[in-house]
Symmetry: C2
C-alpha cells in the first residue's frame, strides 16, 4: 500500500503536483501516510477518490461541493446533479444569446465596410467585387484587403493623378532605355523611383497580395469598361495607374 508519491500520482491521474498539494491542504484528498521527512504517500483508496474528484471536476462542480458530496453519504447527489444541469442549461442559453449578438454585430460591421468599400469599386459590377473581395480576403487575409482599401481612400484623386503621370513617364522611359541601352545609368534611377512609388502605394510594406489585389482591380475595371472612356471617373485613372505600376513591378521582379 501507499505506493504513490505526489509525482507518481500526478502522472497517473494527469494532474499537477501543485493540485495535489492544494487538495491536501483543503482536505479534499489527504495522503494516507506522511514519511518522517514530510513526503506525501498515497494508496489505492486515494487514487480511487481522486478519480471521483476528477469526474465531478470535469462536470464543473466547485471543489468544495465535491468534498461535501464525497464526504457526506447523505448528500443528495441526484438533486445536486439536477441543479447543476439546470445551471449548465442556463449558461448554454446565455452563450447562445451571446453568439447571436456577435453574429448580428458582425453582419452590421461587414455591411458597414462593404458600404464604405462600395464607392471605391465604382465601375465594377458589385457581384464581381464581392466575389473577388471575398476570395482575396480568404487568400491574403482581411488585413491586406483592408490595407489596400485604406490606401485607396487615403491617396485621393490628386495624388493618384500625379503618381500616375510620373509612373507613366518612368515606364515609357524604362521601356525605351531597356531596349536600346540596358546598361544605362538612368535605368537604375528609374527603377529606384518606381520602387518609391510602389512603396507609397502599398503603405510601406510591399506584399505580393497587395500588388496582386491592385492589379486584379485594374483588370476588372478594364474588363467592365471597354475602351476606358476618359470620363474623369477616379476609378478609371486608378485602374490604369495600378495596372501600369504593378504590371511592370511584378514582371521585373521575377
Amino acid at each position: 500500500m501507499d505506493n504513490y508519491s505526489v509525482k507518481k500520482l500526478s502522472r497517473l491521474a494527469g494532474v499537477s503536483v501543485r493540485t495535489l498539494h492544494l487538495y491536501d491542504k483543503m482536505d479534499l484528498l489527504k495522503p494516507s501516510v506522511r514519511t518522517v521527512a514530510g513526503y506525501r504517500l498515497y494508496g489505492e483508496q486515494e487514487l480511487l477518490r481522486l478519480q471521483q474528484i476528477l469526474f465531478y471536476r470535469e462536470l464543473d462542480f466547485p471543489l468544495k461541493e465535491i468534498g461535501a458530496l464525497l464526504d457526506d453519504p447523505t448528500f443528495d447527489l441526484l438533486q445536486a446533479l439536477e441543479g447543476h444541469k439546470t445551471a449548465l442549461l442556463a449558461r448554454k442559453e446565455r452563450i447562445n444569446t451571446l453568439i447571436g449578438t456577435i453574429e448580428k454585430t458582425l453582419v452590421t460591421l461587414k455591411n458597414q465596410t462593404m458600404l464604405q468599400a462600395e464607392d471605391l469599386y465604382e465601375g465594377i459590377p458589385r457581384e464581381k467585387v464581392v466575389a473577388y473581395r471575398t476570395a482575396a480576403i480568404s487568400q491574403w487575409g482581411n488585413e491586406t484587403v483592408s490595407a489596400v482599401e485604406s490606401t485607396l481612400r487615403e491617396l485621393g484623386k490628386d495624388e493618384m493623378e500625379k503618381m500616375q503621370t510620373t509612373l507613366h513617364d518612368i515606364s515609357t522611359r524604362l521601356t525605351t532605355l531597356m531596349s536600346k541601352d540596358p546598361g544605362n545609368q538612368e535605368v537604375q534611377q528609374c527603377i529606384a523611383l518606381r520602387y518609391q512609388i510602389i512603396t507609397r502605394l502599398t503603405g510601406g510594406k510591399i506584399e505580393t497580395g497587395k500588388l496582386e489585389y491592385f492589379r486584379k482591380l485594374g483588370e476588372l475595371y478594364a474588363e467592365n469598361n471597354p475602351g476606358m472612356p476618359a470620363d474623369g471617373l477616379p476609378n478609371r485613372q486608378l485602374a490604369q495607374f495600378i495596372q501600369n505600376a504593378t504590371h511592370h513591378y511584378l514582371k521585373t521582379k521575377q
Copy 2:
C-alpha cells in the same frame, strides 16, 4: 459637463461603484475631472464609453481586450469578434458534453435506486409502483420518498412484526375504549404509544407526505393481493401494518 459622480454614473449604467474605481485604476475608464477633494466626475463622453465597455463585457470579452479595442482604432474588431465567436462555440460544445454526461449519470443513478427500491415493493406491479413513486416524488419531493424507502429498509422484518402486533393491540383497544368510555385514562396512554410508533416509522419527523405514502403503499398492496394470503411475505405484513398505523393516525388527527 462632468455631471456624474461615481454613484450617479453607477446607477445610470447599472454597475457598482467599485467597478468604476477598478476601471479607473486600470485605465479603462478615467473620470474627466477630479475635484480638489479627489472626487471623480464623469461627463457624457465617459458615459458613452462606459456603454461600449459594457457591451463588450456582455459578450464576455476580457477587460484588457476591451481597453485595447477601444483605444486602438486599428484594432481588428472583425477578427476579434470572429475569434470570440469560435471560442464561445467551443464553450457551448463543452457544456453540451457536460450536460450529456450528467444526464447519463442521472439515468444510471435513478436505475440504481429503482433497483434498490424494487424489492421493497414486492407484490405490487412494477408499473404501478413506478407511476405512483414518480407522482409522489413530484408531490412531496425526492427527499420524502427516499426517507420512506430508507425507513422501510432500515426497519427490517423483525421490528416491523413487533410494531405491527403492538399497533394492532393499540388500535383494537382504542376502538373498544372510545366506544364505551371516551374519557378513560388509558385512551391517552394508547394515543401516546401510537404516536411513538409512528414517529419511529417516519424517522423522527412526522410529515403528511410520508404517512400518505405509507398508506398508499398499503392500499396498493391490498388491491393487488386480494385476500392477503398469510404467506409470510414481508410486504404483506408491511402493508397491513402501515394501513393500520397510518389510517388511524390520519383519521384522529383531523
